[in-house]
Symmetry: C2
Subunit: 203 residues, 2 copies
DNA sequence: CCCAATTTGGACTTGACGGTCCAGTTGCGT
DNA sequence: ACGCAACTGGACCGTCAAGTCCAAATTGGG
Protein backbone atom coordinates (compact mmCIF):
# COMPACT_ATOMS: atom_id res chain seq x y z
CA UNK A 1 0.00 0.00 0.00
CA UNK A 2 1.19 3.48 -0.83
CA UNK A 3 4.42 1.90 -1.98
CA UNK A 4 4.85 4.68 -4.43
CA UNK A 5 7.86 6.76 -5.27
CA UNK A 6 8.88 8.62 -2.19
CA UNK A 7 10.22 11.89 -3.57
CA UNK A 8 14.00 12.13 -3.51
CA UNK A 9 14.27 15.87 -3.99
CA UNK A 10 12.80 18.81 -2.13
CA UNK A 11 10.91 19.83 -5.23
CA UNK A 12 9.44 16.37 -5.54
CA UNK A 13 8.33 16.39 -1.94
CA UNK A 14 6.67 19.77 -2.42
CA UNK A 15 4.81 18.52 -5.48
CA UNK A 16 3.62 15.40 -3.69
CA UNK A 17 2.42 17.54 -0.81
CA UNK A 18 0.57 19.91 -3.11
CA UNK A 19 -1.19 17.01 -4.75
CA UNK A 20 -2.16 15.44 -1.45
CA UNK A 21 -3.41 18.74 -0.12
CA UNK A 22 -5.56 19.47 -3.15
CA UNK A 23 -6.87 15.93 -3.26
CA UNK A 24 -7.85 16.12 0.39
CA UNK A 25 -9.78 19.33 -0.20
CA UNK A 26 -11.54 17.90 -3.22
CA UNK A 27 -12.38 14.69 -1.44
CA UNK A 28 -14.02 16.68 1.33
CA UNK A 29 -15.82 18.97 -1.11
CA UNK A 30 -17.04 16.58 -3.75
CA UNK A 31 -16.89 13.19 -2.12
CA UNK A 32 -14.82 10.18 -2.98
CA UNK A 33 -16.55 9.47 -6.26
CA UNK A 34 -16.75 13.11 -7.23
CA UNK A 35 -13.06 13.81 -7.03
CA UNK A 36 -11.47 13.38 -10.45
CA UNK A 37 -7.80 13.44 -11.25
CA UNK A 38 -8.49 16.31 -13.61
CA UNK A 39 -9.86 18.27 -10.67
CA UNK A 40 -6.64 17.64 -8.80
CA UNK A 41 -4.63 18.63 -11.84
CA UNK A 42 -6.56 21.85 -12.23
CA UNK A 43 -6.17 22.82 -8.59
CA UNK A 44 -2.47 22.07 -8.37
CA UNK A 45 -1.35 22.95 -11.86
CA UNK A 46 0.31 19.57 -11.90
CA UNK A 47 0.40 17.39 -14.95
CA UNK A 48 -0.99 13.95 -15.39
CA UNK A 49 2.35 12.25 -15.12
CA UNK A 50 3.06 13.88 -11.80
CA UNK A 51 0.04 12.22 -10.31
CA UNK A 52 1.13 8.85 -11.60
CA UNK A 53 4.71 9.50 -10.64
CA UNK A 54 3.86 9.85 -6.98
CA UNK A 55 0.91 7.48 -6.73
CA UNK A 56 0.20 4.10 -8.25
CA UNK A 57 -3.28 5.01 -9.34
CA UNK A 58 -6.39 6.79 -8.20
CA UNK A 59 -7.10 4.34 -5.39
CA UNK A 60 -3.60 4.72 -4.03
CA UNK A 61 -4.06 8.48 -3.94
CA UNK A 62 -7.37 8.16 -2.14
CA UNK A 63 -5.83 5.91 0.47
CA UNK A 64 -3.00 8.36 1.02
CA UNK A 65 -5.53 11.15 1.39
CA UNK A 66 -7.38 9.22 4.07
CA UNK A 67 -4.22 9.13 6.15
CA UNK A 68 -3.58 12.80 5.59
CA UNK A 69 -7.18 13.57 6.53
CA UNK A 70 -6.86 11.61 9.74
CA UNK A 71 -3.75 13.58 10.61
CA UNK A 72 -5.60 16.79 9.88
CA UNK A 73 -8.57 15.88 12.05
CA UNK A 74 -6.44 14.80 14.97
CA UNK A 75 -4.16 17.77 14.49
CA UNK A 76 -7.04 20.23 14.51
CA UNK A 77 -8.19 18.88 17.86
CA UNK A 78 -4.66 19.41 19.02
CA UNK A 79 -3.88 19.06 22.66
CA UNK A 80 -7.53 18.74 23.56
CA UNK A 81 -6.97 15.07 22.82
CA UNK A 82 -4.24 14.85 25.42
CA UNK A 83 -6.52 15.96 28.23
CA UNK A 84 -9.37 13.49 27.92
CA UNK A 85 -8.57 12.27 31.40
CA UNK A 86 -10.86 14.63 33.30
CA UNK A 87 -14.51 15.51 33.02
CA UNK A 88 -13.57 19.10 32.30
CA UNK A 89 -11.21 18.00 29.53
CA UNK A 90 -13.87 15.82 27.94
CA UNK A 91 -16.40 18.64 28.12
CA UNK A 92 -13.95 21.02 26.47
CA UNK A 93 -13.50 18.47 23.69
CA UNK A 94 -17.25 18.10 23.18
CA UNK A 95 -17.74 21.85 23.17
CA UNK A 96 -14.99 22.24 20.61
CA UNK A 97 -16.63 19.81 18.23
CA UNK A 98 -20.01 21.48 18.50
CA UNK A 99 -18.45 24.89 18.03
CA UNK A 100 -16.63 23.63 14.98
CA UNK A 101 -19.89 22.44 13.43
CA UNK A 102 -21.50 25.79 14.14
CA UNK A 103 -18.65 27.52 12.35
CA UNK A 104 -18.93 25.10 9.42
CA UNK A 105 -22.66 25.77 9.30
CA UNK A 106 -23.21 22.06 9.83
CA UNK A 107 -21.57 21.19 6.55
CA UNK A 108 -19.17 18.39 5.82
CA UNK A 109 -19.91 16.13 8.75
CA UNK A 110 -16.89 14.19 9.95
CA UNK A 111 -14.23 14.07 7.23
CA UNK A 112 -13.40 10.52 8.22
CA UNK A 113 -16.89 9.29 8.97
CA UNK A 114 -18.26 10.63 5.71
CA UNK A 115 -15.70 8.66 3.78
CA UNK A 116 -16.75 5.53 5.63
CA UNK A 117 -20.15 5.41 4.01
CA UNK A 118 -18.63 6.08 0.64
CA UNK A 119 -15.76 3.62 0.64
CA UNK A 120 -16.18 1.05 3.39
CA UNK A 121 -18.34 -1.30 1.42
CA UNK A 122 -16.44 -1.49 -1.84
CA UNK A 123 -12.79 -0.76 -1.14
CA UNK A 124 -11.34 -2.90 1.59
CA UNK A 125 -8.00 -1.11 1.61
CA UNK A 126 -9.78 2.17 2.15
CA UNK A 127 -11.92 0.60 4.84
CA UNK A 128 -8.78 -0.48 6.65
CA UNK A 129 -7.34 3.01 6.40
CA UNK A 130 -10.55 4.56 7.72
CA UNK A 131 -10.65 2.01 10.51
CA UNK A 132 -7.09 2.88 11.46
CA UNK A 133 -8.01 6.56 11.54
CA UNK A 134 -10.99 5.96 13.79
CA UNK A 135 -8.87 3.76 16.01
CA UNK A 136 -6.26 6.46 16.47
CA UNK A 137 -9.01 8.88 17.40
CA UNK A 138 -10.79 6.56 19.78
CA UNK A 139 -7.50 5.59 21.42
CA UNK A 140 -7.04 9.11 22.77
CA UNK A 141 -10.33 8.90 24.64
CA UNK A 142 -9.80 5.33 25.76
CA UNK A 143 -6.38 6.15 27.14
CA UNK A 144 -7.78 9.17 28.93
CA UNK A 145 -10.50 7.07 30.51
CA UNK A 146 -7.96 4.47 31.57
CA UNK A 147 -5.98 7.17 33.31
CA UNK A 148 -9.13 8.34 35.04
CA UNK A 149 -9.83 4.82 36.17
CA UNK A 150 -6.31 4.51 37.55
CA UNK A 151 -6.85 7.71 39.46
CA UNK A 152 -10.08 6.40 40.87
CA UNK A 153 -12.29 8.84 38.99
CA UNK A 154 -13.94 5.96 37.18
CA UNK A 155 -15.55 3.03 38.94
CA UNK A 156 -13.44 -0.10 39.04
CA UNK A 157 -16.02 -2.01 36.99
CA UNK A 158 -16.14 0.61 34.24
CA UNK A 159 -14.96 -0.48 30.80
CA UNK A 160 -12.93 2.33 29.24
CA UNK A 161 -12.78 0.65 25.84
CA UNK A 162 -16.54 0.23 25.64
CA UNK A 163 -17.14 3.75 26.94
CA UNK A 164 -14.82 5.12 24.29
CA UNK A 165 -16.52 3.14 21.55
CA UNK A 166 -19.99 4.25 22.62
CA UNK A 167 -18.78 7.84 22.66
CA UNK A 168 -17.33 7.54 19.17
CA UNK A 169 -20.66 6.19 17.97
CA UNK A 170 -22.46 9.19 19.42
CA UNK A 171 -19.96 11.52 17.78
CA UNK A 172 -20.26 9.92 14.37
CA UNK A 173 -24.02 9.57 14.56
CA UNK A 174 -24.39 13.08 15.88
CA UNK A 175 -22.28 14.44 13.04
CA UNK A 176 -24.30 12.49 10.51
CA UNK A 177 -27.57 13.90 11.82
CA UNK A 178 -25.99 17.34 11.94
CA UNK A 179 -24.97 17.03 8.31
CA UNK A 180 -28.28 15.71 7.05
CA UNK A 181 -30.37 18.16 9.03
CA UNK A 182 -27.97 21.06 8.70
CA UNK A 183 -28.31 21.63 12.42
CA UNK A 184 -25.34 21.58 14.82
CA UNK A 185 -27.73 21.08 17.71
CA UNK A 186 -28.07 17.45 16.66
CA UNK A 187 -24.47 16.87 17.63
CA UNK A 188 -25.00 18.68 20.92
CA UNK A 189 -27.87 16.35 21.80
CA UNK A 190 -25.84 13.28 20.90
CA UNK A 191 -22.85 14.45 22.92
CA UNK A 192 -25.01 15.25 25.94
CA UNK A 193 -26.22 11.66 25.85
CA UNK A 194 -22.65 10.41 25.47
CA UNK A 195 -21.69 12.50 28.47
CA UNK A 196 -24.53 11.02 30.51
CA UNK A 197 -23.35 7.55 29.66
CA UNK A 198 -19.75 8.32 30.58
CA UNK A 199 -20.88 9.82 33.87
CA UNK A 200 -22.58 6.58 34.79
CA UNK A 201 -19.07 5.21 35.18
CA UNK A 202 -18.02 8.02 37.51
CA UNK A 203 -17.23 7.34 41.13
CA UNK B 1 -39.32 16.35 -7.76
CA UNK B 2 -40.25 12.90 -8.98
CA UNK B 3 -42.84 14.58 -11.15
CA UNK B 4 -42.29 11.92 -13.74
CA UNK B 5 -44.73 9.96 -15.77
CA UNK B 6 -46.87 7.97 -13.46
CA UNK B 7 -47.58 4.81 -15.39
CA UNK B 8 -51.08 4.64 -16.83
CA UNK B 9 -51.20 0.93 -17.50
CA UNK B 10 -50.57 -2.11 -15.33
CA UNK B 11 -47.62 -3.05 -17.46
CA UNK B 12 -46.13 0.38 -17.04
CA UNK B 13 -46.52 0.23 -13.30
CA UNK B 14 -44.83 -3.17 -13.20
CA UNK B 15 -41.91 -1.85 -15.22
CA UNK B 16 -41.50 1.15 -13.00
CA UNK B 17 -41.52 -1.09 -9.96
CA UNK B 18 -38.92 -3.42 -11.46
CA UNK B 19 -36.65 -0.49 -12.18
CA UNK B 20 -37.01 0.93 -8.68
CA UNK B 21 -36.39 -2.45 -7.13
CA UNK B 22 -33.23 -3.12 -9.14
CA UNK B 23 -31.96 0.39 -8.58
CA UNK B 24 -32.46 0.04 -4.84
CA UNK B 25 -30.45 -3.17 -4.78
CA UNK B 26 -27.66 -1.67 -6.84
CA UNK B 27 -27.57 1.47 -4.74
CA UNK B 28 -27.08 -0.65 -1.64
CA UNK B 29 -24.49 -2.88 -3.30
CA UNK B 30 -22.36 -0.41 -5.16
CA UNK B 31 -23.10 2.91 -3.57
CA UNK B 32 -24.72 5.98 -5.03
CA UNK B 33 -21.86 6.80 -7.37
CA UNK B 34 -21.29 3.18 -8.33
CA UNK B 35 -24.78 2.56 -9.63
CA UNK B 36 -24.97 3.17 -13.36
CA UNK B 37 -28.07 3.19 -15.48
CA UNK B 38 -26.54 0.41 -17.52
CA UNK B 39 -26.39 -1.68 -14.37
CA UNK B 40 -30.07 -1.07 -13.85
CA UNK B 41 -30.77 -1.93 -17.49
CA UNK B 42 -28.84 -5.15 -17.22
CA UNK B 43 -30.61 -6.25 -14.08
CA UNK B 44 -34.11 -5.45 -15.27
CA UNK B 45 -33.81 -6.16 -18.96
CA UNK B 46 -35.29 -2.74 -19.49
CA UNK B 47 -34.21 -0.44 -22.26
CA UNK B 48 -32.75 3.00 -21.99
CA UNK B 49 -35.92 4.74 -22.95
CA UNK B 50 -37.85 2.99 -20.23
CA UNK B 51 -35.61 4.55 -17.61
CA UNK B 52 -36.08 7.99 -19.07
CA UNK B 53 -39.76 7.37 -19.61
CA UNK B 54 -40.42 6.82 -15.92
CA UNK B 55 -37.79 9.12 -14.42
CA UNK B 56 -36.54 12.54 -15.38
CA UNK B 57 -32.91 11.60 -15.09
CA UNK B 58 -30.48 9.73 -12.91
CA UNK B 59 -30.91 12.05 -9.95
CA UNK B 60 -34.65 11.69 -10.07
CA UNK B 61 -34.28 7.92 -9.97
CA UNK B 62 -31.92 8.10 -7.01
CA UNK B 63 -34.33 10.28 -5.10
CA UNK B 64 -37.15 7.86 -5.78
CA UNK B 65 -34.96 5.02 -4.60
CA UNK B 66 -34.27 6.81 -1.32
CA UNK B 67 -37.99 6.85 -0.60
CA UNK B 68 -38.34 3.21 -1.52
CA UNK B 69 -35.38 2.35 0.69
CA UNK B 70 -36.90 4.19 3.62
CA UNK B 71 -40.09 2.22 3.16
CA UNK B 72 -38.07 -0.98 3.06
CA UNK B 73 -36.16 -0.21 6.23
CA UNK B 74 -39.26 0.79 8.16
CA UNK B 75 -41.15 -2.14 6.72
CA UNK B 76 -38.48 -4.61 7.75
CA UNK B 77 -38.70 -3.41 11.33
CA UNK B 78 -42.41 -3.94 11.04
CA UNK B 79 -44.49 -3.77 14.15
CA UNK B 80 -41.46 -3.49 16.37
CA UNK B 81 -41.74 0.20 15.60
CA UNK B 82 -45.25 0.33 16.97
CA UNK B 83 -44.20 -0.89 20.39
CA UNK B 84 -41.47 1.55 21.29
CA UNK B 85 -43.54 2.65 24.25
CA UNK B 86 -42.13 0.20 26.78
CA UNK B 87 -38.64 -0.71 27.90
CA UNK B 88 -39.19 -4.24 26.73
CA UNK B 89 -40.33 -3.05 23.32
CA UNK B 90 -37.30 -0.82 22.95
CA UNK B 91 -35.00 -3.65 23.96
CA UNK B 92 -36.60 -5.95 21.40
CA UNK B 93 -36.01 -3.30 18.77
CA UNK B 94 -32.35 -2.92 19.74
CA UNK B 95 -31.86 -6.69 19.78
CA UNK B 96 -33.41 -6.97 16.35
CA UNK B 97 -31.01 -4.44 14.86
CA UNK B 98 -27.97 -6.15 16.35
CA UNK B 99 -29.20 -9.53 15.19
CA UNK B 100 -29.73 -8.13 11.72
CA UNK B 101 -26.15 -6.91 11.59
CA UNK B 102 -24.88 -10.31 12.72
CA UNK B 103 -26.81 -11.94 9.91
CA UNK B 104 -25.46 -9.43 7.41
CA UNK B 105 -21.97 -10.09 8.68
CA UNK B 106 -21.71 -6.44 9.56
CA UNK B 107 -21.95 -5.39 5.93
CA UNK B 108 -23.92 -2.56 4.46
CA UNK B 109 -24.40 -0.42 7.52
CA UNK B 110 -27.66 1.48 7.56
CA UNK B 111 -29.11 1.73 4.04
CA UNK B 112 -30.28 5.25 4.77
CA UNK B 113 -27.32 6.41 6.83
CA UNK B 114 -24.82 5.18 4.28
CA UNK B 115 -26.48 7.26 1.62
CA UNK B 116 -26.22 10.30 3.85
CA UNK B 117 -22.44 10.42 3.64
CA UNK B 118 -22.59 9.92 -0.09
CA UNK B 119 -25.25 12.41 -1.06
CA UNK B 120 -25.92 14.86 1.75
CA UNK B 121 -23.19 17.28 0.84
CA UNK B 122 -23.70 17.61 -2.89
CA UNK B 123 -27.33 16.89 -3.65
CA UNK B 124 -29.71 18.93 -1.59
CA UNK B 125 -32.80 17.20 -2.94
CA UNK B 126 -31.34 13.87 -1.89
CA UNK B 127 -30.41 15.31 1.47
CA UNK B 128 -34.00 16.36 1.99
CA UNK B 129 -35.23 12.88 1.07
CA UNK B 130 -32.76 11.26 3.46
CA UNK B 131 -33.72 13.69 6.18
CA UNK B 132 -37.38 12.83 5.66
CA UNK B 133 -36.53 9.16 5.93
CA UNK B 134 -34.64 9.61 9.17
CA UNK B 135 -37.46 11.75 10.51
CA UNK B 136 -40.03 9.07 9.82
CA UNK B 137 -37.82 6.58 11.64
CA UNK B 138 -37.12 8.80 14.60
CA UNK B 139 -40.78 9.73 14.89
CA UNK B 140 -41.69 6.17 15.83
CA UNK B 141 -39.36 6.28 18.81
CA UNK B 142 -40.30 9.80 19.79
CA UNK B 143 -43.99 8.94 19.73
CA UNK B 144 -43.35 5.84 21.79
CA UNK B 145 -41.45 7.86 24.37
CA UNK B 146 -44.22 10.44 24.49
CA UNK B 147 -46.72 7.69 25.25
CA UNK B 148 -44.42 6.44 28.00
CA UNK B 149 -44.25 9.91 29.45
CA UNK B 150 -48.02 10.18 29.39
CA UNK B 151 -48.23 6.88 31.22
CA UNK B 152 -45.78 8.12 33.81
CA UNK B 153 -43.01 5.75 32.84
CA UNK B 154 -40.82 8.70 31.90
CA UNK B 155 -40.02 11.56 34.25
CA UNK B 156 -42.02 14.68 33.66
CA UNK B 157 -38.88 16.64 32.83
CA UNK B 158 -37.69 14.13 30.24
CA UNK B 159 -37.50 15.36 26.65
CA UNK B 160 -38.77 12.62 24.32
CA UNK B 161 -37.62 14.42 21.19
CA UNK B 162 -34.06 14.82 22.45
CA UNK B 163 -33.96 11.26 23.74
CA UNK B 164 -35.10 9.99 20.36
CA UNK B 165 -32.50 12.08 18.55
CA UNK B 166 -29.70 10.90 20.81
CA UNK B 167 -30.80 7.32 20.26
CA UNK B 168 -30.82 7.78 16.49
CA UNK B 169 -27.30 9.14 16.71
CA UNK B 170 -26.15 6.06 18.62
CA UNK B 171 -27.83 3.82 16.07
CA UNK B 172 -26.27 5.56 13.09
CA UNK B 173 -22.87 5.86 14.71
CA UNK B 174 -22.98 2.30 15.94
CA UNK B 175 -23.85 1.07 12.46
CA UNK B 176 -21.03 3.11 10.96
CA UNK B 177 -18.51 1.62 13.37
CA UNK B 178 -19.97 -1.82 12.75
CA UNK B 179 -19.55 -1.35 9.02
CA UNK B 180 -16.02 -0.01 9.16
CA UNK B 181 -14.81 -2.55 11.71
CA UNK B 182 -16.88 -5.41 10.37
CA UNK B 183 -17.98 -6.12 13.91
CA UNK B 184 -21.65 -6.14 14.98
CA UNK B 185 -20.55 -5.78 18.60
CA UNK B 186 -19.85 -2.12 17.91
CA UNK B 187 -23.56 -1.55 17.44
CA UNK B 188 -24.30 -3.48 20.62
CA UNK B 189 -22.01 -1.22 22.62
CA UNK B 190 -23.56 1.90 21.12
CA UNK B 191 -27.09 0.68 21.80
CA UNK B 192 -26.26 -0.25 25.40
CA UNK B 193 -25.12 3.32 25.90
CA UNK B 194 -28.27 4.61 24.24
CA UNK B 195 -30.29 2.42 26.57
CA UNK B 196 -28.45 3.80 29.59
CA UNK B 197 -29.26 7.30 28.48
CA UNK B 198 -32.92 6.52 27.93
CA UNK B 199 -33.13 4.90 31.35
CA UNK B 200 -31.91 8.08 32.96
CA UNK B 201 -35.29 9.47 32.04
CA UNK B 202 -37.15 6.58 33.66
CA UNK B 203 -39.28 7.14 36.72
C1' DC C 1 -61.79 -3.85 -33.99
C1' DC C 2 -59.68 0.50 -34.41
C1' DC C 3 -57.09 4.30 -33.16
C1' DA C 4 -54.67 7.20 -30.06
C1' DA C 5 -51.95 7.07 -26.13
C1' DT C 6 -48.68 4.47 -23.77
C1' DT C 7 -44.78 1.82 -23.68
C1' DT C 8 -40.54 -0.19 -25.56
C1' DG C 9 -36.09 -1.03 -28.39
C1' DG C 10 -31.85 0.39 -29.40
C1' DA C 11 -28.74 3.25 -32.19
C1' DC C 12 -26.31 7.46 -31.62
C1' DT C 13 -24.03 11.63 -29.55
C1' DT C 14 -21.32 13.81 -26.32
C1' DG C 15 -18.27 14.22 -22.87
C1' DA C 16 -15.55 12.86 -18.90
C1' DC C 17 -12.36 10.06 -16.81
C1' DG C 18 -8.53 6.82 -15.72
C1' DG C 19 -4.48 5.35 -17.43
C1' DT C 20 -0.25 4.97 -20.82
C1' DC C 21 3.60 6.71 -23.22
C1' DC C 22 7.50 9.21 -24.47
C1' DA C 23 10.06 13.13 -24.99
C1' DG C 24 11.84 17.10 -22.63
C1' DT C 25 13.63 19.54 -18.41
C1' DT C 26 15.48 20.09 -13.91
C1' DG C 27 18.11 18.86 -9.88
C1' DC C 28 22.02 16.91 -7.59
C1' DG C 29 26.12 14.18 -6.41
C1' DT C 30 30.79 13.72 -7.89
C1' DA D 1 30.37 20.91 -15.49
C1' DC D 2 28.98 16.42 -16.50
C1' DG D 3 25.90 12.71 -16.43
C1' DC D 4 22.36 10.12 -14.43
C1' DA D 5 18.31 9.97 -12.00
C1' DA D 6 14.39 12.49 -10.67
C1' DC D 7 10.87 15.09 -12.27
C1' DT D 8 7.51 17.23 -15.60
C1' DG D 9 4.45 18.27 -19.82
C1' DG D 10 0.93 16.90 -22.46
C1' DA D 11 -0.72 14.21 -26.38
C1' DC D 12 -3.14 10.09 -26.89
C1' DC D 13 -6.16 5.92 -26.13
C1' DG D 14 -9.90 2.98 -24.64
C1' DT D 15 -13.83 2.76 -21.88
C1' DC D 16 -17.90 3.82 -19.97
C1' DA D 17 -21.72 6.54 -18.62
C1' DA D 18 -25.60 9.94 -19.22
C1' DG D 19 -28.79 11.58 -22.11
C1' DT D 20 -31.36 12.19 -26.96
C1' DC D 21 -34.07 10.63 -30.62
C1' DC D 22 -37.22 8.22 -33.47
C1' DA D 23 -39.45 4.40 -34.98
C1' DA D 24 -41.82 0.16 -33.70
C1' DA D 25 -44.87 -2.46 -30.76
C1' DT D 26 -48.38 -2.87 -27.39
C1' DT D 27 -52.34 -1.55 -24.80
C1' DG D 28 -56.97 -0.48 -23.68
C1' DG D 29 -61.11 2.48 -24.15
C1' DG D 30 -64.95 3.50 -27.21
Amino acid sequence: MGNTHVPATAKGRATRERILQAAAELLAEKGAAGMSLDDVRARTGASRSQLYHYFDDRDDLVRAVIDVTTDAVLGRQGELLDHLDSWAGIDRWFDFMVQHQIEQQARGGCPIGSLAGQLAENDSAARAAIGAGLDRWEAHLRDGLIRMKTRGKLRSDADPAALATATMASIQGGLLLTQVRRDPHQLRIALNAARNNLRLGAT
